[in-house]
Symmetry: C2
Subunit: 297 residues, 2 copies
């Protein structure tokens, strides 16, 4: 990431981008990509390991851009993120807007290393048909996960929901898009680095795994938001409840929310068995699912 | 475009996206892509014609996203665009931020039709090695044109320049990135749809063409901003001068600015000859260059 987010982008833009994406966060999405790539055997595919590393960084750039924009005054108006002042507090709103925009663009640049680079590019070219097929697929998966029917769509539902009494189906739909889409997309991008084809048994099973942990992640997030202090979370706790935003905890109660996250962990484990990729290959994915459900921040 | 910008994206997001990108603008970038694709013989390449249409729409989505964000109160705070209220005036700042974000993402979705679509996707799949190589290249060219060293970098320079006495070199660098990068990228994307390879004689000549018209476009823009009324332009005229932003006219004077745009038109025409693609194939590019320099709005 340090190598691909340019410090020398003009007029301080690079510094704002680096501030928004470097040294912070759990890197869960990146780890999911690397773990899914390992499960799918990306190390036995030409260019697979580099593709997975690029995919992991690209996904973190998308995640970071969404946080930078989400924190802005016209959205959540948050001043603290990962224990630091948010980007717009540090660099001003206009630069934060641009930095988020450019982080999104850079994600697709990092995924496509063989386009001609005028001036500063993102690294050496990669040749061959397989690699460019994987590049195109990774761009497509990332765009679909982040786009109007994925993350951005979920944020639009979130925006429209403040102060409203959402029903459970709408809450699930919102989180399915807002948080779930990037987590599912991470697992699928890792699978694509290993050459797995959509529609195959392993692809479908890994997608079910990604879906389950995506939902579990948000439920656990809501539980932590209701039960933990800000300094532990590195962000302002209880903010959703204060803003009268619906959460799984406010809707289901703490106990049912915790029970559902446990069920989802079990569903994720079963999906890994069903993938037929082997216990050794999927061990890192299993460990990540465990960590998602049993984390304390 | 009507087909690819989804009206049914959640919670009004689709409506805001469509408002920002449909029925407005000169579509110059899209026309450049289609003209460059014609010059490069995209109609004789499998999938080339569809790739060019997708590239044209993707580029217009990127251009539209940049306008939506640029008009926001924390940037240029513009209330009029293409003769209509700007997106944030019509839909609110938060939805405008999201709509711009999602238009950028959708551009990369439209370029990669063979990624698996969960739910609503952007159309039928495209198979084969050549097509996916073109897809990856188009994503890479678009990202480099729009990213931190392209359009976004130019906007950062612009942001930092308000009220400052920029020298000519910095002004040129700013416009080279802010406006020129997308226009050059448009020509290169069209060339890529015809299978032209970076480094070839035709690619280099078309890139020089794109560079020349990119610069000419901005000079003419500044000339029009200084000489035309708002109702003709469809946006607020004289705004840059009012904000004490440097322009080619304020720096060079009207006469020298007009002389330079004429020289650039001549350079663009020479580049088309040098491409060796033939006068017939490059006629549409030549006509567009003419129109860029001799427009009145």
């Amino acid at each position: 990431m340090d190598q691909w987010v340019p410090a020398d982008a003009p007029a301080g833009l690079g510094q704002a981008m680096r501030y928004g994406v470097l040294d912070g966060g759990k890197r869960l999405r990146a780890l999911l990509i690397l773990a899914a790539a390992e499960a799918a055997g990306a190390d036995r595919v030409a260019g697979g390991t580099e593709a997975a590393m690029r995919a992991a960084c690209a996904m973190e750039m998308i995640h970071a851009y969404s946080l930078v924009h989400d924190d802005m005054p016209c959205m959540d108006n948050d001043v603290l993120r990962r224990g630091k002042p948010t980007v717009h507090v540090q660099f001003g709103q206009a630069q934060a807007l641009l930095a988020g925009d450019a982080l999104q663009t850079l994600a697709f640049e990092v995924l496509t290393p063989d386009a001609p680079a005028d001036g500063a590019g993102s690294g050496a070219g990669v040749d061959g048909c397989l690699q460019t097929r994987v590049q195109a697929r990774l761009c497509g998966l990332l765009a679909r996960a982040a786009g109007p029917f994925g993350m951005a769509g979920g944020q639009a539902i979130d925006l429209a929901s403040v102060g409203k009494a959402l029903d459970e189906a709408t809450l699930r739909d919102m989180h399915h898009r807002k948080t779930g889409a990037l987590l599912l997309g991470s697992v699928q991008m890792g699978a694509a680095c290993g050459g797995l084809e959509p529609g195959s048994v392993a692809w479908q099973a890994l997608s079910d795994f990604g879906d389950a942990i995506g939902l579990a992640f948000q439920i656990v997030d809501d539980v932590l938001d209701a039960t933990q202090a800000s300094d532990k979370l590195g962000k302002t706790a209880g903010k959703d409840a204060d803003a009268n935003k619906p959460t799984y905890v406010s809707l289901l109660g703490l106990e049912r929310a915790q029970a559902e996250s446990a069920q989802l962990l079990s569903r994720a484990r079963q999906a890994l068995v069903r993938s037929e990729l082997g216990e050794g290959a999927t061990a890192m994915l299993a460990a990540l699912a465990e960590r998602i459900v049993h984390r304390d921040h």
